[in-house]
Every structure is written in C-alpha cells, then in structure tokens.
Symmetry: C2
Subunit: 341 residues, 2 copies
DNA sequence: ATCGAAATTTACAGCGCTGGAATTTTCTTG
DNA sequence: CAAGAAAATTCCAGCGCTGTAAATTTCGAT
C-alpha cells in the first residue's frame, strides 16, 4: 500500500540500488542523478520501509532499555537521558518494564522473539548475575546501576558506597550525631540498599560515631508511602535522630511527610538527604539535599559501550564509574550559616 | 547468525511452513508433528526473527505513544496504562517524546521512515488540528487528551470542563469564597488550561461568586517551579484567596511549597486541589485532593480504537469521554468535619 | 584519439518469514 | 472397500530493501 523503491526507480529511470544510494546519502552518486532521484522521491512521497531495510541489513536501529518502572521519576529521567544519547547515535529506544520482579526481568531477557532490538541496556533489580549471564548471551548488553552484573558484561554506575559516605559525612559536618538511614527493604536487601548503607556506616565510623541498628528504618515497600510508614512508626516508637540519609528521593519525600506530620522541623530538628536528584526534589518543602548522579554521562557511556558491543567489540566486561555530586538544598543546607527559607 | 526456520524444518523433517504453523500456534497441526517440531525448536534454541515475520506480514506489532515528556508523572503513568492495554492485545509500545514543542510534534508525525509502527496514540500539546490532519493521513491514529483533534480522527479524553467544575464546586462546598486558579500558561493557553479554567469559572458562577481575573495565577512555565513562582509572587503582591484550583498535580505541589514558605496553612487558610492523581499526590504534605482520570479505561479504549483503525475501520472520528472522580484528600478534605493530620 | 584508472551505475541474489493455493494424507460413511 | 470430505502438509512466490560484484561511463594523461 505504499510507494516502493522500485516505483521511484522507474520514475527516475535508474536502478533500485541507485535510489537506495540516494536515500541513504551514499556519496558516489552524480549530482544530476541525485537530483533526478530526489525529484522522483518528492513527487511520489516515498518513505523507506523500515522492515525491508532491516531484514536486509540485519539491524533494527532500536535499543531496549529495561528497568522496573517508568513511573519512578529516576527511571523516567534516565529514560530521557538514554533516549537523547541513543538518538545522537541514530538509535531509538524501546522501553521494557520489569516491574522489579524476577519474572519481569526474565520475560525481558528471554523474550521468545529475536531481532526486535540490536542491544539492551538493563538495570536489574533482583536477578542474580549468574542468571543474567545464563540468558541471552547473544544479545549485546550493558548493565546499568549497581545491581548484579556478570563479569563479562559491561556496566556503568556511580560509586554508591562513596556517594553514601559523602551524603552522610555532610550531615556529620552539620553537627548531626544521631543519623539514621531510611527507605531500604525490610528483607532481601537490594545491592543498591546494601551499598548505600555500607557507605553510610563508613561515614559514621570515620566520624567516630557508633552505627545504631535502631536507626535503620526499613520500608515495607520501596515507595514514598513505604517510607512515610517506616519512618513514622520509628518515630512513634521513640527513635531519636537528628539526621536522616534516605535511600532515594522518593523515600526522602515520604520521610518529609512523616516528619511534618509529627511536627519535626526540617532541617532544624532533622536534616534529610535524598538520592537521585529527581526534578521534584527542588520543589518539595523543604527542597532536598540529594546525591545527583551524572545521568547524561551515565547514559552517554552506556550507549557508547553498547554500540561498541553491537559493532562486534568482544573484550572482557568493562565496569565503569561515572560522576555524581552532592546537591545541597534546604533539607540539609551547607554547614556555613545560611538562610533556610 | 541465528537458527533459521529452515534449520528447524530440516531437523524435524517437515516443511518450513509447518514449522511456522507450530511456532504461531496454528491449530491444524497433528500432535505428532507438533511434538517433533517443538523438539527441534528446543534443541536448536530457535527464536523467530521478527524482521522476517514483519516484512512478510506487513505488521510490526508496535504502537507509538507520543506525548511531551515521560518525566512528567502523568505521562509516565499514562505510558504504563497504555503499555498494559497494548500488551493485552499483543502489541508493544514505542515511546516518542515531543518535548511539547511544535517541532517535536512535527518530527513525530513526519518521521521520514515508514513501517516502524502500526499506529500511533498521540497527545498533542501545541499542534493545531488542521496540521495534524495534514500530516500522515496514512498512519492509523488516536488522539489522547483534550488537545487539538481533527474531526475525522478518533479521540479519548475526560470531560475537562466538567471535572474542573466539580473540583471547584468542592472548594465552594467547603465554604471557600475567594477561589483562585493556578498553573496555566501566561500566554497561548493550551486547550487543557482553557477548558479547566472555563469549568472553574462555571462553578464560581453557579455558586454566585464573581470570577476575579486577579485570582488567575499563571506560571512562567508549566512545571512545579513555575507554580512556586507564580503563586508565590501573587501572594506577595497581596492576592487574597482561601481556595486554589491547580491545573495539575505538579502545579499543586508547587503551590503547596509557595504557600508553606509564606506560612499559609493548608487546608485551613487555603484549600487546594490538583489534577491527575499522580502517585505522589498521596504523600505530599498535605496529600492532594485531585481529579483522578480513569487512566486504565482511557488507555484501554484508546488502544482498542487504534487497533480497530489498524484493522481497517474507517468511519468518521469517534470522540469519546472516559470517567474521572474527585479524589478527596487532605489538601481539601470533605465538607463533613474530619480530622486533618 | 587512446588507454588505464577512477567514478558511477546496475544486476542479482538473498535477508527470514508467511499467505494462499495445491497437494497429500487421514478419516468417515455407506 | 470405495468414494468423498476433512485435515494436515507442502510449494511457491514475494514482502522491500541492501551487499557484493560486475558492468558501464567518465576522466585525465598520453
């Protein structure tokens, strides 16, 4: 039902291959021919059919981006960064949500069809690295984030341990001495939570503070409401703290609410830090001091590495770190005296 | 570089077509043959190549979903609803972001390749219906939301005018008499804003209240920060109001912050409503009373109609409304006395 | 003019799969 | 057991495009 390459070729009086060359900007085509073909293309309103092209080239121009859930702001923002980076390289991005479940992750990796995408950027939540490497060894893959990653596979992440240490040290520098951690799972802790808690603990020890298990406020589920509940119950149970490192910004937003509900002033009574620097962290009340990963760089490197793999690069897995910074806002302002709106 | 249908056929000792029939679950295949073929498939680890299938069938199994930006929670949630609905029908969804600009919208509609998707669900922000109908009359399309929609094209939305009236009437029922509207554009108002403002005005008139232009607090940009600024400046300039209808939840979150900063108590001094019922609206402090569109139904109908169009349905455009409800939370609790945490 | 090299253009064989028609096998029924 | 119907399977062409290699044209230098 469309105009075919053949139709253009006939109208322009050249071979299909020449039209193909013009369409794809091949350089060795004479100006005269190019004009004639272009005129035919315009006249017929020809658009290349991607399926034909793909079958012939074996490439789809599509990268899969798999993570738990776009409705989590961090992932939505990651998705934009990845789309931008992929677009630069001439690729489009197909989102695949796993809902953070093992089945979801399996479904993505074992999807029974092939050829849908040229490669995949995968942020695992629960799958073990053993299982990851077992599946789909054929599909070029780059792991995003601090989840499991088989050694042979490329991975890009920020240094979670170090960033958590920095965030915690910031609270220490504000003079806080009873610093809690909130928002991790109640059991089966994700590697994300584990690494962040480890960094938090390190900072406490560096400061000569004794980590107190009673100040770890887990969430029944990883969500803002989970944190409202977790932090709220802890306070009601008598937990005393003047600083709170949250696993992520959503947990921090929940913590803010739990603290507000109980009349705690932030940062006066409790200074809070988040993680991810989602857009909303600027407009919460108070705005959130948070770890801001360099998403653009993360996406850029990940896409770059994936494209190298697609192009045949096959050395051992490269595990790279990208930068982050501590974005200091109202919920834990800088140590230097400063107005807090 | 993979196992081909042909390879399976040879191993199983049947024709390619029979293998194809087994793969796709065609019913008229004897149990014995099916077993033999299945064994060959398993043994070789065969996976159908989608490109081949697509070229042969002319269908891609992909629907495009185009809107401004996934980082806006409403769109992220819409995207999930659409993916779910499309998945039910055997389709996958390719996200296309327009950034809310005319160029972005044009890029999506005129993308120079064809055959990438079977149809498109498009939520226009700025494009006129005339231009929409001019482009890509070949691609099956369904318009989402209250933006421009050419008559011949299907569209699904909620009744924005009526919902805005309901939200505003809710504030009236709480005894509020100076009710503002916040979060719309400073100029070139989107049809979304226009319809919501119209419903807001209607409710005021129904209640015998005089709409006051001084209570329309536009945002320099459609974002939470835009609302923080817009509402903040209005208060500082002396605007007096005890109710505030926000164009969307993000504007409401911004308004919450602007009010908090100035010591206004919510809902005591100012009752606030949002729009969209994004997940975060449950955990803001206070949580938001908001218009909750029936996203699942919206997505379900939109996908259904799009698939009908793809299947050849070609009658005039159907313009359908789906439901919504007023989700009453803390920022504007129900009239009946009730505790507000 | 003439010849070899460089630049352009073309022919052709598929990429992997499916639709539809045609064929073969199997099942029913008298 | 034959004949016809139904079920199962195969054949074949081709979806729209591109890679490769071969053919043709053009160009520069003799």
């Amino acid at each position: 039902m469309g105009v075919r390459l053949q139709d253009v070729a006939e109208l322009a009086g050249v071979s299909m291959k020449t039209v193909s060359n013009v369409v794809r900007g091949y350089e060795h085509v004479s100006a005269a021919t190019r004009d004639r073909v272009q005129r035919a293309i315009d006249e017929l309103g020809y658009r290349p059919n991607l399926m034909g092209r793909r079958l012939a080239t074996g490439r789809t121009g599509l990268l899969a981006l798999a993570f738990s859930n776009v409705a989590l702001p961090y992932f939505a923002e990651l998705s934009r960064a990845v789309s931008a980076a992929a677009g630069q390289a001439g690729y489009r991005v197909l989102l695949e949500e796993t809902d953070g479940t093992l089945e979801g992750e399996r479904a993505v990796l074992t999807s029974s069809e092939s050829g849908m995408v040229d490669g995949i950027l995968f942020q695992p939540s629960t799958m073990s690295s053993a299982e990851i490497s077992r599946h789909r060894s054929d599909l070029p893959m780059v792991i995003l984030g601090e989840g499991a990653a088989p050694l042979p596979v490329d991975r890009v992440m920020i240094d979670n341990f170090e960033a958590a240490r920095v965030a915690t040290a910031h609270l220490v520098s504000l003079g806080r001495r009873r610093i809690g951690f909130a928002g991790h799972e109640t059991q089966n802790l994700s590697s994300t939570s584990l690494q962040r808690i480890a960094g938090y603990q390190q900072a406490l020890e560096d400061a000569g503070l004794r980590p107190d298990p009673a100040l770890l406020f887990a969430s029944r589920e990883i969500s803002p409401s989970g944190a409202v509940e977790g932090v709220g119950q802890a306070i009601d149970a008598g937990a005393v703290f003047d600083g709170l490192v949250c696993r992520d910004d959503l947990a921090a937003i929940g913590a803010l609410r739990a603290l507000h509900e109980r009349g705690r002033r932030i940062p006066h009574d409790v200074a809070v830090t988040g993680w991810d620097d989602i857009e909303l962290s600027r407009v919460t009340f108070p705005s959130l001091t948070t770890i801001a990963p360099d998403l653009d760089e993360l996406a850029r490197r990940a896409v770059e590495m994936l494209i190298e793999r697609i192009s045949g690069f096959s050395a051992a897995g490269r595990h790279e770190l990208v930068g982050y910074r501590l974005e200091v806002r109202e919920s834990a302002p800088s140590a230097v005296p400063e107005e807090t709106a």
